[in-house]
Symmetry: D2
Subunit: 138 residues, 4 copies
């Protein structure tokens, strides 16, 4: 576990009061924890921008009754198996599936996988959550 | 399966050429498929903005060695079990876990769950992917 | 001018080092200044989400040769004159104009103005910068 | 003015109905105009991602009473005068100024200018609107 370093921060009184409101609203235990989160979010955005090793989640909504959509979703995942860790599949209703793919690798590869999956005919919606391997935000 | 409706669209020649480039780049099978995707993305954003029934994925990165973090992540999920469908847990390395929670419910509840999880001390990063139940983007 | 309040923050050593990199990269004078910026950004997002009094800038790109576009851009601005402060107009080339509208008012009204301008036939691109009246981020 | 090309698009009936709702809500004159907007937005994002020649607007909120802030905002603008077209300055209240800078140049330079301005002590908030020179979205 990493050593903690303590340092002083100066904030204008009204700004601090509004920040404390926000901390309560979002249920952070203290100011340090809230500030850590803001900092880590910036760092994770930089990891993706600079094309580092990242982790993320891709969500897909598709109708499994649509011709070939299942086969194509699986085929595409096999083409990118080096960046896919695992997959979670949820039957939202009789038609709609939510599939969530945990991915890890170079930012560019993960983007390519997300684009390839989203472009499949029958995939109605796709998102890419840009998360982190955790190594650079310890 | 829904009936298809066909209608005409007019685009300026150079705009259409650049759009066709984009379609090739993102590997869409045809213009209709690419346009459908752009439209559905707008509709899904509206579902979330208007507080409808939505589906989504929450990613968390945390160090499972950190005191109490695991217990708190599980406790919080139990508090919100009505909006959680299932959970995928990945061991990224000796310290870092990636946990992906599939959620479904009112947009506001899913936001609250994401905020509650992200604010846990020891959770280093969190994202919320705003997806859809699929019903309004058929 | 507001009183400054000083308080202590604890960060993990490697996280602090990466944050210091980011501070240098973005040219902040010190950690407090960088943290203030992260906090204010959150507060401004909340102002817009909660529909408060906000300020912002709307950019438009349009071809002033296109039929009626100029008249419609001006008419729409008159319909919303209570939220428009001033306008800056730039001739980017023989065809393209960049118009930047400084707006202030209820978040909802400013969104409506931006939507109305973006939907004008001949307006090729529009953005809305969500800024602040400055009152809640002192 | 560019030639218009007409082509057919197929959409599922319920998707088209919801798209038509959206078109009415956002006040577009017809489907082509709404689709053009969605396409151009994608193209503008790509211009920025690929580091092309872009145009944009930077907003700043600052308290002009704060020591040196005015001088630094002006100095920084002079350092980047090759990418600045013009500036609009609004007195929001006794303390707060809204300054909107119209910029044009390589995406990277415009980003650097925005970062340099946002990092000035006394600048409370800054945004960068990513717009276009209009050339690639005709």
């Amino acid at each position: 576990m990493s050593d903690l370093v303590r340092f002083g921060v100066s904030l204008e009184q009204p700004l601090l009061e509004r920040f404390d409101d926000l901390i309560r609203e979002r249920q952070y235990t203290n100011r340090s924890e809230a500030l850590r989160d803001l900092i880590r979010r910036e760092l994770v955005q930089r990891e993706w921008r600079e094309g580092r090793d990242v982790a993320g989640a891709i969500t897909l909504i598709y109708d499994h009754h649509k011709k070939d959509v299942l086969a194509k979703v699986v085929d595409t995942q096999h083409d990118f198996q080096q960046v896919i860790i695992s997959t979670q599949h949820i039957h939202l209703d009789h038609h709609n599936c939510l599939e969530i793919i945990a991915a890890r690798g170079k930012a560019e590869e993960v983007h390519k996988l997300a684009d390839a999956l989203k472009s499949i005919k029958g995939v109605r919606h796709g998102t890419l959550s840009m998360s982190s391997t955790g190594k650079e935000i310890e």
